[in-house]
């Protein structure tokens, strides 16, 4: 399973890579929006995880989602928000913007991995 993780914080990107790699997924890291947009055109992706705060003067995760939605290649690819914005109302805000799922930081990996596993199962069914 190919997963794109858009994250500017290097430590967080690294730990995500380590956690998901253990479960036989391939994690591609993009540090900012423009890198991510480049990547989606080159790689065949099954899931995209997006941090919201991507640094000062950078395109944020919400804008990036809008850009993704305009691209036909990843039209059907699920996009999850993975963010430290976890005040009351934040989850609803991001779901309303169009994210397919929302994970607050610190990330509950048990839950994330189970969602990815379910996703993988349904993908296998479709391809077979």
């Amino acid at each position: 399973m190919n997963i794109l993780y858009v994250e500017d914080n290097k430590i967080n990107a690294m730990v995500m890579d380590k956690m998901l790699s253990k479960n036989h997924s391939k994690v591609i890291i993009a540090e900012n929006g423009s890198q991510a947009l480049k990547t989606v055109k080159e790689k065949n992706l099954d899931l995209i995880l997006v941090d919201i705060n991507l640094g000062l003067n950078q395109m944020d995760g919400c804008e990036l989602l809008q850009r993704f939605r305009k691209l036909d290649i990843i039209k059907n690819t699920p996009v999850f928000a993975v963010t430290a914005y976890a005040m009351p109302g934040d989850k609803q805000r991001f779901i309303n913007l169009g994210f397919d799922n929302y994970f607050s930081k610190p990330v509950n990996f048990e839950k994330l991995l189970s969602v990815i596993s379910n996703l993988n199962t349904s993908l296998s069914k479709k391809t077979s």
Binding site: N9, I11, N12, M14, V15, M16, K18, M19, K22, N53, G55, L56, A84, Y85, A86, M87, S104, K105, P106, V107, F109
Partner: protein, 734 residues
């Protein structure tokens, strides 16, 4: 024994009677000598001529109708015919006409004298609209002359029946009228009465009836009477009565006394009302001048007499004077005299007729109105508001002094001297609002409007306008009171409150924004720490473990930094709750802050100075907030200056409204692209400032927020490695 023919012929010739024998058709058959005076020709020529040829025109038809009435059954009639004669004028002959063997035997007697009297009576009767009547109580026979019929608008041939006379009186008087006659027969006393009748044609008339008894052996055998149409006179009397009454009432109503002063004879006649008013005896017609002087109020005597003399000399005929007179019981009262002067050929006033009018109540009312008006004016002038009273046409009836001043100044009109419409003396852009509100007020509604205007000195003024309809006792709108209240201060206060509310809201937003940012900043490193801890449990490779521990350490440090910042930030809550604005002496507060850091400046061996402003500027701020912001910036300047100077300057001359406080250092400086970023509390890490500016981002950011909450601004100018200038701008209190 019958007459012999000879005897008869002699008798016929000697008699005073005029004798004719006529044929049935009126042709003359024969006549006696006496008749010759009736004819201009001799006897033989007359025979065979029509007798009607010799009767005056007016009586011809009467003759014809009399002759035609004669028949075998009714052979006798009596009628008078008039004949013109050469010598004696018109003779009136009363004939007995007898039909016998188809010949008419006419025996006439000269009734000229009686006839003259009769005609005269008829004329009188006609001219005076009078009729005569008689009544025989024995056989109840009633006779009416033609005049009686004429008065009652009846045909003279109407047959007389019992009760005919009474039938013309209205029901309510009929019995009374019948009783008059019965009473006369009993008492034998004459009577007269005037009553209303309704004639045969339905006209209403007033009649005067007079009756006189004829007595024989102490018994009424006959009643003679007249009836006269007195409608005109009755109406006239009624009218006269009415006029008298009107005059009487009018005189009573005006509480006036009439006088007639014959100046030449120096006689004055007073009406009884006049005498009554002044308490003079009713028989005293003349009041000498000396006496009259004592009756006039002492303050008015001289002016009243002076005016009197002036009046007599004046051209024209009018006389007017006024003074207070001693009323017989009410003390002195105000009177006005209006008179008409008659002059002789020399133009001297010889007589004066006029009346004295009690105008006391009027005078008192005028005085009361004047007093009330002055009181009202005083109230109006001393009130805080502008007040204008308009009548229903929109004319200014009353205005306070300030309004009048404004109108005089701007429109060159004095509304108290010339009547002017309020709409004409207001700025054009208010006219439609005024017209609308005024119309609403005329309907009885109170209208309230706020208007903003520029005063003549150019400042902005807010006015609260009220249109208050004033009703008369019939509940109709009588006048409209317009008040203008200066609510500029209230408005400004409202604006300040609103601004304060906005600032408070901004502080609230800032608080939740800060909270959200803190949450984000804690969760980010926590994500690393928790995940790395999990990874460490499963990691066997040593090198990889050390790498993970390094990452763990970095995340831990970042978390600690954030928590330290949080501690300093918790202050904001308590400050925000206790905002209290007061007037401060800016020189004093800035100098106090300055003194707090003298020690720090000394240890760093810096040139640390302050320059106060001579005008002792004042500002209305929350002193705590202001001082915290100021302290932060001064401390910041000293902290990042390692050599050179830190100067503080206060300047009020640059602006009318604001106070400028400069904090200028020769420290490390800030790159221009980071001017704004230094005020963002959570930016250090991303732009790599955290090491150099450790713990400062939050201070500057708070300082800026505080100054903004107080209505001011912080600006920054800097050159890298040369120094930084912070400028705090706060509003002056006026």
């Amino acid at each position: 024994m019958p007459f012999t023919l000879e005897q008869f012929e002699i008798l016929a010739e000697k008699t005073l009677l005029f004798l004719f024998v006529l044929k049935k058709d009126g042709k003359i058959f024969t006549f006696n000598n006496r008749c010759e005076v009736l004819f201009p020709f001799n006897k033989d020529q007359i025979k065979g001529k029509q007798i009607t040829d010799y009767i005056i025109d007016e009586d011809i038809s009467l003759f014809k109708s009399s002759v035609s009435r004669l028949s075998e059954k009714n052979p006798l009639t009596v009628e008078t015919f008039r004949f013109p004669t050469i010598q004696n004028g018109v003779l009136a002959l009363k004939f007995d006409l007898t039909l016998h063997n188809n010949l008419i035997y006419a025996a006439g007697i000269d009734t000229t004298e009686e006839y003259k009297e009769h005609r005269a009576l008829i004329t009188i009767s006609k001219l005076t609209k009078t009729g005569a009547w008689y009544f025989n109580p024995k056989n109840k026979e009633m006779y009416w002359s033609k005049g009686c019929y004429a008065i009652k608008d009846l045909d003279p041939n109407t047959p007389m029946t019992r009760g005919l006379g009474a039938s013309f009186y209205p029901k309510e008087s009929r019995e009374r009228v019948e009783n008059y006659l019965n009473t006369l027969i009993k008492t034998k006393e004459p009577y007269e009465y005037t009553e209303k009748i309704i004639t045969g044609k339905g006209n209403q008339k007033w009649v005067k009836v007079v009756a006189q008894p004829v007595i024989y052996k102490n018994e009424v055998v006959y009643v003679n009477g007249t009836i006269a149409d007195v409608t005109d006179r009755h109406d006239y009397i009624e009218k006269l009565k009415y006029n008298e009454e009107t005059k009487h009432l009018a005189l009573k109503g005006i509480q006036s006394g009439l006088f007639d002063h014959l100046i030449e004879k120096n006689e004055v006649f007073y009406s009884s009302d006049f005498k009554k008013m002044l308490g003079l005896p009713p028989d005293q017609d003349y009041v000498p001048e000396e006496k009259f002087r004592t009756m006039i109020h002492p303050d008015d005597v001289d002016t009243a007499f002076a005016r009197h003399k002036e009046n007599l000399k004046k051209p024209g005929n009018h006389y007017h004077n006024h003074y207070r007179l001693k009323h017989f019981k009410n003390g002195y009262r105000h009177y006005e005299v209006h008179g008409y002067r008659r002059k002789n050929q020399k133009g001297e006033t010889i007589r004066m007729v006029g009346n004295l009018i009690d105008v006391h109540q009027k005078k008192i009312n005028e005085k009361t109105i004047q007093d009330n008006k002055s009181k009202l004016q005083a109230m109006v002038n001393n009130g805080m508001d502008y007040i204008i009273l308009l009548n229903v046409q929109g004319k200014i009836l009353l205005a306070d002094e300030d309004s009048i001043k404004i109108i005089k100044r701007d429109y060159n009109v004095d509304p108290m001297k010339t009547s002017c419409l309020f709409i004409d003396v207001m700025p054009i852009n208010y006219k439609s609002t005024f017209a609308h509100s005024f119309n609403e007020a005329l309907k009885g509604n109170t209208v309230r409007k706020e208007i903003e205007r520029n005063t003549h000195v150019g400042t902005n003024q807010w006015l609260e306008t009220k249109y208050i309809p004033i009703l008369d006792d019939q509940s109709n709108v009588n006048t409209v009171l317009i008040t203008f209240r200066d609510i500029t201060e209230e408005k400004l206060a409202q604006l300040v409150i609103k601004e304060a509310q906005i600032r408070e809201q901004e502080l609230d937003d800032l608080k939740s924004n800060i909270l959200s940012n803190f949450s984000h900043e804690i969760r980010t490193p926590l994500n690393g720490i928790i995940t790395i801890s999990k990874l460490l449990q499963d990691e066997d490779d040593n090198e990889e473990r050390n790498k993970l521990i390094d990452y763990l350490d970095e995340s831990k440090n970042r978390l600690l930094d954030t928590l330290n910042t949080l501690a300093s930030y918790s202050e904001i809550e308590s400050i925000q709750k206790n905002l209290s604005y007061s007037q401060i002496d800016v020189n004093y507060v800035v100098e106090t802050s300055y003194r707090n850091y003298i020690h720090l400046a000394k240890t760093k061996n810096l040139d640390y100075r302050i320059e106060l402003d001579e005008s002792c500027p004042e500002s209305i701020v929350d002193e705590n907030l202001f001082k915290t912001a100021l302290d932060n910036i001064i401390h910041n300047a000293l902290k990042y200056t390692n050599k050179g100077s830190v100067q503080i300057k206060i300047n009020t001359k640059r602006s009318k409204k604001n106070i400028y406080i400069y904090i200028i250092d020769t420290g490390i400086g800030i790159d221009k692209k980071n001017y704004e970023k230094i005020f963002d509390p959570f930016i250090q890490e991303s732009i790599g400032l955290s090491r150099k500016y450790e713990g400062t981002g939050i201070g500057l950011s708070l300082s800026r927020r505080y100054i903004e909450v107080l209505g001011g601004k912080i600006k920054v100018k800097s050159k890298l490695n040369k120094g930084t200038e912070f400028l705090i701008i706060i509003p002056k209190s006026l």
